[in-house]
Subunit: 222 residues, 2 copies
């Protein structure tokens, strides 16, 4: 049950993608635990809740530092703070959204962003009927004003919620305007501009994970 | 470069979640390759494109069967078909969406679902002003008609796109109406009804993966 003291010189930059993905799951579960009144958790218990081994939990976290206490486990608040520092979400990130169709509007209102430190402060569109309006508290600007607003509001992250056919040109404009990170919802492969990171969201992947499970269960029932 | 002949008795049900997740990535990349005119691909090349080792690719696929040909690699069309069979997406799945706010409307129009075998055939709401209408080709029914429509249209999958406060009760109703798989977009923990699988979509996780990368890159620049 004692948490590991391994890796004296951890290097977060060495962490594989899968580890960083699990780090989000640890964070979310720790936030649930705190909400339910828990102050500490062992790697065994944390792993069990998420379906990982305790060794996996300890090995993943060891990329980022030494967080466990022998005989205690992890202190939830402390580990939450540490993980948020690793993600850079211990501070709030102003975010721009490009495209104010149903998806753009839904994302501006998405509570899951607010809760984790992402605040959509500006929306962009090219439709004159929409420019000048607002979605919740985010004003809708013309895409031509992207560079100016990005600089004024110190925006580093942007979400692409435009039709597939416009996604690459929007990504290029975002790169040129100094955006560091792009989340792409358009169901099309987009090349990241130089100096920007990009994550593509493919919602069909989540559906495939679901049907895999459904097919597996129906096979077991037979 | 020869593809492995390992695992004579693969069992898909043994595949860990992470493997099933990567299977979606393989499928999507193979679909891109075919679109670009490629007929075959080696595990080395497929892994390289996605940032995995060739051993990883072969080990993952070995859970599901033996797909490689010595000296050739994988035949793209054949492997696409095999993976779609594994996911059950070699046929079309009719899907119900619950909640016709911005998110629900966006998801009905999401091209990424259509492309991969998911067709939203019915939407549900409790707002009398919306019931009787339609989003694209999906009629909007009252939630009280859920069970009847699910049976009539043989719907096995449903997407929850309602406010967080209503998510659990909607999940319970979905379970009771015979739905096998639920994709939950509400930013709240929902317990799956008995006999149904559930996948929760947490869009903030994608943002965290992005900021991790952005923070790492800005550290490297210093």
């Amino acid at each position: 049950m004692a948490e590991s003291k391994s890796k004296s010189n951890p290097n977060p930059a060495d962490a594989p993608k899968a580890v960083v993905g699990r780090l989000s799951l640890y964070l979310r579960e720790l936030q649930h635990l705190v909400r339910d009144g828990h102050e500490t958790i062992s790697s065994t218990r944390l792993g069990k809740i998420l379906g990982f081994s305790d060794a996996q939990v300890r090995k993943d976290l060891a990329y980022f530092g030494q967080f466990g206490y022998p005989g205690i486990g992890y202190r939830c608040h402390e580990l939450i703070h540490a993980i948020k520092q690793i993600f850079g979400t211990d501070r709030q990130w102003p975010v721009a959204i490009i495209g104010t169709g149903n998806l753009g509007r839904a994302l501006v209102g998405y509570k899951g962003f607010d809760n984790q430190g992402f605040k959509i402060v500006a929306a962009f569109d090219i439709d004159p009927a929409k420019v000048g309006g607002a979605i919740e508290e985010a004003p809708i600007h013309h895409l031509d004003d992207l560079e100016r607003i990005v600089q004024e509001k110190q925006i580093k992250l942007a979400i692409i919620a435009v039709p597939a056919s416009a996604a690459q040109s929007v990504a290029d404009r975002l790169g040129a305007s100094g955006i560091d990170g792009i989340l792409n919802f358009a169901p099309v492969t987009v090349t990241a501009p130089p100096n920007a990171s990009m994550v593509g969201v493919d919602l069909a992947i989540e559906m495939e994970q679901l049907t895999f499970d459904v097919v597996k269960r129906s096979g077991e029932k037979k």
